[in-house]
């Protein structure tokens, strides 16, 4: 061994540079293909994130250079900003209702589709469609038309002699139209649920039915526990999405969060602070608080998951 090592040493030194250049030659195309992503990630994502962290400690109106104000922005958020509190309440209400409802609806449809019906691929695609279109401006505009005072919903209700309110301009209902819109976009969790349901071995249900378990008991005792990893994944993803939700509220309320701030999502408030009032420092602080909120929620979910998520292995 020692003899070999002594022989090899000068060779290694000689081939050192050529080894690097050879490695570069063989890997260069890969890095070149990655270059646009690197530029985007560092220039458009990491860069602004870091600078927004700095800006959150400043007073900055885009025109003059930022003034360091320490924790003043954060202080204001919790002590001297009632709109912040309102937007938090609206956002939490939205998350609390839209996520469970959407997941329940997605699971229900997935179970229906999992019964092995004819034309399953077609139904799957049709049900998925709203998820593709849902976050778009066009759908939000359509939604505004449907729930307007003279919209489709009220025209339908008038058939039965019911005079409906203007759903989107009544503060009691406006947030609910957004929750319904969100639940309607159940396609992507549904697809994931469907894949999860397919993973549950059929013979577990057969064993349970031999044991006399009704479909209802089978759902609660077998399907749901075995699906918890998928429920967990969907809940995390959908909650993060819900916290970040922006477009529908922006379009339906014309960017104001009206009526009476009833649809003032946190992101909408943040947007207005930044781009209507040019309080970039404060908006940055709001953004960082949202990030922290989502991170805490996600961490908490992972901590609790060991008590209710059943992993097979």
């Amino acid at each position: 061994m020692t003899v070999h090592a002594a022989d090899a040493a000068p060779q290694d030194a000689a081939s050192g540079t050529s080894k690097w250049s050879r490695a570069w030659q063989s890997h260069a195309p890969g890095y070149l293909f990655l270059l646009p992503w690197f530029i985007g990630f560092f220039g458009l994502t990491i860069g602004p994130i870091i600078s927004s962290f700095y800006l959150s400690f400043t007073d900055f109106d885009l025109l003059t250079s930022p003034d360091w104000v320490g924790f003043a922005n954060y202080e204001r958020m919790f002590t001297n900003d009632r709109t912040f509190a309102t937007s938090m309440r609206v956002t939490f209400t939205f998350v609390l209702f839209s996520v469970p409802l959407k997941l329940a609806f997605a699971l229900a449809i997935a179970i229906l589709l999992n019964r092995g019906m004819k034309g399953l691929p077609l139904y799957r695609a049709v049900f998925y469609l709203p998820s593709l279109l849902g976050a778009s401006v066009a759908i939000a505009i359509l939604w505004r038309q449907i729930f307007a005072g003279d919209g489709l919903v009220n025209q339908f209700l008038s058939i039965f002699g019911i005079v409906g309110p203007s759903w989107i301009s009544n503060p009691n209902y406006s947030l609910w139209t957004l929750i319904v819109l969100s639940v309607w976009q159940f396609g992507s969790p549904m697809i994931i649920f469907l894949a999860g349901l397919r993973q549950i071995p059929q013979d577990m249900y057969e064993a349970a039915s031999l044991d006399g378990a009704s479909k209802w008991r089978q759902f609660w005792k077998i399907t749901l526990p075995l699906l918890t990893p998928v429920v967990f994944f969907n809940a995390i993803i959908q909650t993060i999405e819900a916290f970040k939700s922006f477009t529908p509220a922006f379009i339906i309320s014309n960017g104001t969060g009206s009526p009476i701030n009833s649809t003032l999502f946190y992101t909408l408030y943040l947007y207005n602070e930044a781009f209507s009032y040019f309080r970039m420092g404060y908006a940055s602080a709001l953004a960082w608080f949202l990030l922290l909120l989502i991170a805490c929620f996600t961490a908490f979910s992972f901590l609790t998951s060991k008590y209710w998520v059943h992993y097979d292995d």
Binding site: S209, L210, G212, K221
Partner: protein, 355 residues
């Protein structure tokens, strides 16, 4: 009192494709019946129809004389052990055993008592708080059987329960299931593709092929008097040798030799001899071929010789004890006429050999 099962012209079709073609079978109370056959013969389908997991397309299923075709699975008084075990992965062993009883809303104390009793029988008491993923294959198998026992069913069904275990464990569990049957005395139906399992465990073997029963009977009856070529080839290991033959003056012509069995052989086209019923060179019985030795396996207790006849037909010979047989040598093969089987052109046994 154990339970009887009767199948009358049981049929199963998926759309236009019929897979079970009118099966008639009676299983006596307390009998251990084994369904055996190659893949796709319909043995599992038949079992699942008895269980109530597959609808019956035609015919009658009677349990203790009562028609059960439309009775739901849970109400047939049966328990089933699945090939995959089908244990609920998120429940402890105790919960797995108790699930059926909890479903039936049995009082907790009685559930605990029954689970305890089943755990004792199967020696799984130390495992009760574990999850299935913490168990070995053999332990999972015991839990699966335990889940059947706690319900105290009238009938036990087993769907290839040992096929996921390694060879050693398979033999051990085979013995345990046979013991369990002796202790409990229930009617049991057991599905396997392994004819050794069938031979060792069964009171009655049902050989199936392509959705029909080829033969049903006691293991040794099937071994001694197979009704046709299929059963003859399926039961017994190594499998029976088949030599094409013709008949002249009530004598079989197999390639180069003439064999007289001392009985009527009219119409015979195939001569069947089990490997263990062939001897070489010692002159007992009737010589039926000169064979060239291709391969010799020394198992210690037995010597297995793979050989080829002069006209190119292969032959397996099992000799008792350790024998010195040279590769490439030519040896004389003898058979005992009483243990030779003959089959006609349709593959049906012509006459049972007398013993």
């Amino acid at each position: 009192m154990a339970t009887s099962i009767q199948l009358r012209q049981i049929k199963k079709a998926y759309g236009d494709v019929q897979v079970i073609h009118g099966v008639d079978l009676t299983i006596d109370p307390g009998e251990f019946t084994v369904f055996v056959g190659p893949s796709g013969c319909g043995k599992s389908t038949l079992l699942r129809m008895i269980a109530g997991l597959e609808p019956i397309t035609g015919g009658d299923l009677l349990i203790d004389g009562q028609r059960m075709n439309e009775v739901p699975a849970a109400k047939r008084g049966i328990a089933m052990v699945f090939q995959s075990y089908a244990l609920y992965p998120h429940m402890s062993v105790y919960k797995n055993l108790a699930f059926g009883l909890e479903t039936a809303k049995m009082p907790k104390a009685e559930i605990a008592q029954r689970v305890q009793k089943a755990a004792e029988i199967l020696k799984i008491e130390p495992l009760l708080q574990r999850k299935p993923k913490q168990l070995s294959g053999g332990q999972r198998q015991r839990v699966a059987i335990g889940r059947a026992i706690v319900r105290e069913p009238k009938i036990f069904l087993f769907d290839e329960p040992l096929s996921n275990l390694d060879a050693e464990l398979r033999v051990a569990m085979r013995v345990e299931i046979a013991k369990l049957h002796n202790d409990l005395g229930n009617t049991m139906i057991y599905v396997t593709h392994d004819q050794v399992e069938a031979m060792t465990m069964a009171d009655k073997i049902v050989v199936l092929r392509a959705g029909i029963i080829e033969q049903a009977g006691a293991p040794l009856d099937l071994y001694n008097d197979p009704r046709n070529l299929f059963v003859a080839g399926f039961i017994g290991s190594p499998k029976m040798n088949f030599l094409t033959t013709s008949v002249e003056n009530n004598t079989l012509k197999t390639g180069t030799a003439s064999v007289s069995l001392g009985r009527d052989v009219t119409g015979a086209t195939t001569l069947g001899i089990r490997p263990e019923h062939i001897t070489i060179a010692d002159g007992s019985g009737v010589k039926f071929a000169d064979v060239i030795v291709d391969l010799v396996e020394n198992l210690g207790g037995q010597t297995v010789v793979y050989a080829t006849t002069k006209d190119g037909q292969s032959l397996t010979i099992v000799l008792e004890g350790q024998r010195d047989v040279a590769l490439g040598s030519t040896v004389e093969a003898y058979l005992d006429p009483a243990k030779a089987h003959i089959f006609n052109a349709e593959g049906v046994a012509i006459s049972a050999p007398s013993r």
